[in-house]
C-alpha cells in the first residue's frame, strides 16, 4: 500500500510539473463550458443532457492524452529499469499509475462543477440525471484510463500510445451506438450494446445507477489492468 501511495504521489505531482497538464485542463473546461452554455442559451434547456451526451467523445481524445506518458515515457527515458528493480510488485506500480491518472481526471471533472451549480441556481433541473451523469462520467473515465494505460505499456512513443488508445476506445465506443447496432446481425445487438462503452453511460445518465452498469465498467477496468500486468511480465519472460 505504501508503495502504491508513493508511486501515486510521484505520478500525480508529475502531471502538474508539466505545463501541458494546465493546457489540457483549460481546453477541457473551455470546450465543455462552451458546449454547455450553447445548449443552455440557444436551446434554453436547463439540464446537462447535452453536456453528458458529448462527454464520451471528448474523453475519447482527452483521456488518452492523460495516459499516454505513463509507461511510454518511462521506457523512453530508461527510468523503467530503475522503477522495476525497486522492491515493488508489478500490480503496485500499475495501480499507483492508474489511480494517479484517475485523480487527475477527477480534478478536471471537479473543475467543471460550476456548470451544474449554475444550472441549479438558474433553473430547477432534475437532480437525478446530473448526479447520475457525474457518477457515470467517473466510471466511464476509469474505463478509458485503463485502456490508455495498457496501450502506453506497448510502446515507448507517446504519440503512438495516444493514437492506438484513441483507436481502441473509439472501437469500443461506437459498437454501442445506434447506427452500428442497426447494421449488425440481430443476434449481435445485445452483445454489442452491452460492450459499448457509451451505452452504459447513457443508462446511468438517465439517473438510474444500475449495478450491472457499474459491474460493466469495473470489468473493463480490471480487464485492461490485467492485460497491463501481462505486458509487464512479458518483459520478464
Amino acid at each position: 500500500m505504501q508503495n502504491i501511495i508513493a508511486i501515486f504521489k510521484r505520478e500525480f505531482k508529475g502531471y502538474f510539473n508539466s505545463t501541458i497538464a494546465y493546457i489540457f485542463i483549460t481546453v477541457f473546461l473551455v470546450l465543455t463550458g462552451w458546449l454547455f452554455f450553447r445548449s443552455f442559451f440557444i436551446i434554453n434547456q436547463a439540464d446537462m443532457r447535452g453536456f453528458f451526451a458529448i462527454l464520451p467523445w471528448i474523453f475519447l481524445f482527452f483521456v488518452p492524452a492523460i495516459t499516454m506518458r505513463l509507461w511510454a515515457e518511462e521506457k523512453k527515458l530508461g527510468t523503467l529499469e530503475i522503477l522495476m528493480t525497486l522492491p515493488v510488485k508489478d500490480h503496485e506500480v500499475i495501480f499507483g499509475k492508474f489511480l494517479a491518472s484517475y485523480a487527475f481526471l477527477a480534478v478536471t471533472i471537479l473543475l467543471s462543477l460550476p456548470l451544474p451549480i449554475t444550472i441549479l441556481y438558474l433553473g430547477t433541473p432534475d437532480k437525478g440525471p446530473i448526479i447520475g451523469g457525474y457518477i457515470g462520467t467517473l466510471l466511464m473515465g476509469g474505463a478509458f484510463l485503463a485502456i490508455g494505460l495498457f496501450v502506453s505499456s506497448l510502446t515507448e512513443n507517446q504519440i503512438v500510445a495516444f493514437i492506438i488508445a484513441v483507436i481502441i476506445s473509439f472501437g469500443l465506443l461506437i459498437i454501442g451506438e445506434q447506427f452500428v447496432l442497426f447494421s449488425v446481425p440481430n443476434w449481435l445487438v445485445p452483445l454489442f450494446s452491452y460492450l459499448g462503452l457509451g451505452s452504459h453511460f447513457s443508462d446511468i445518465g438517465r439517473g438510474v445507477v444500475d449495478s450491472r452498469d457499474i459491474i460493466y465498467y469495473l470489468s473493463v477496468i480490471l480487464f485492461f489492468i490485467f492485460l497491463n500486468m501481462r505486458t509487464l511480465e512479458g518483459r520478464r519472460w
Binding site: A6, R10, N17, L77, G78, E81, P87, K89
Partner: protein, 312 residues
Amino acid sequence: MIRVSNLTKRYGNNAAVDGISFGIRKGEIVGFLGPNGAGKTTTMRILTSFLAPDEGTAVIAGFDVIKEPLELRKRIGYLPENAPLYLDMGVLDYLNFIAEIRDIPAGERGMRIKKIADLCALNKVLKKNAYELSKGYRQRLCLAQALIHNPDILILDEPTAGLDPNQIIEIRELIKEIGREKTVILSSHILSEVSATCGRVLIINEGKIVASGTPEELSNRATGKEKIYINLKGQREAIETRLRSMSEIASFRVIEENGGELLKYEIESNGDTNLNEALFHMTVDNRWVLTELRKEKASLEDVFLQLTIGEK
C-alpha cells in the same frame, strides 16, 4: 554472494548472454569488460531481476532472481546504463521518492538523504530539477539513488561513461570507497578503468566469458606471447636461417628493410623464455650489428583485443 550458472538470454535467434557462469565473493569489486553488444548490460539486467533469463539461474545474497525478486531487489543498488532519471522531477523530490519506496522510515529519510548527498557531492544541486543537471551530476544522482538504502551489492553499468577526466577520477574514487564494504559489479569498455578499480575482471564477448582473473593475471597470461622488436645490420638470408633454427621463436617477420642493410624484425616468442638474451648472443656470435632491441609486454589491452577481435 553472487552465484550465476549457465545464464542464457536470447533475442530471437541471437543469444545476448550465452551460458555465462561465475561466482563473486562478498566484498569483491568485479569488472565486466567487453566490446559493444557483448552482453554486459543484459547480464546486469538479469542480475537485477529486470529481465528473466531463458535458461540458467542467478542467486544473489541467497535469493534467486526469478523466485524471490523482491527480497533480492532490497539488497541491490542498480545504476543502469546512461543514468536514467525522471527529468521533470526535483533532485530532492526524487531522492525522497526512492527513499520512500526503499522503505526508509519517514523520520530517517532526511538524514539518509543528507548523508548520501554528501557522499555523492550532490549538495549544490539538491534544489534543482533533474533536467538542469549536467551529465556528471545526473550520474551522481543516479548513483545516490542506488546507494540510498545502503545495499550490500551494487551493480553499476558503465558508471563513468560520458564523463570528463576529472569526473571519471572522482567517480572511480567514490566506487573504490564504497567498494571497501560492499560487493560491486561494474561494466566498462575502458581497460584502464577496470584495472584501476576492480580486483577481478571478467572479459565478456558475444555473450560468453572469454577470460577472467585479476588484471595482473590477465596481462601475465598474455606475456606468453610477448613480442620483441629488433633492428639489425647483416645479411638477410643468414639472419633468417638462424632465426628459424631458434626454438624459442614462434614466428617472425620483417617489418622494414632499409637499403638491404638495416632490417627490422618483429619476433614473437614461444613462452616464458629469455628470448632477448638469446637474440643478443646470436647477433654477437655472428658479428651482426644490433641497433635496437625492444621488448613489448602484452597489456591488458592486448589480452582484450586478442580475446575479442583476434579470434575472428
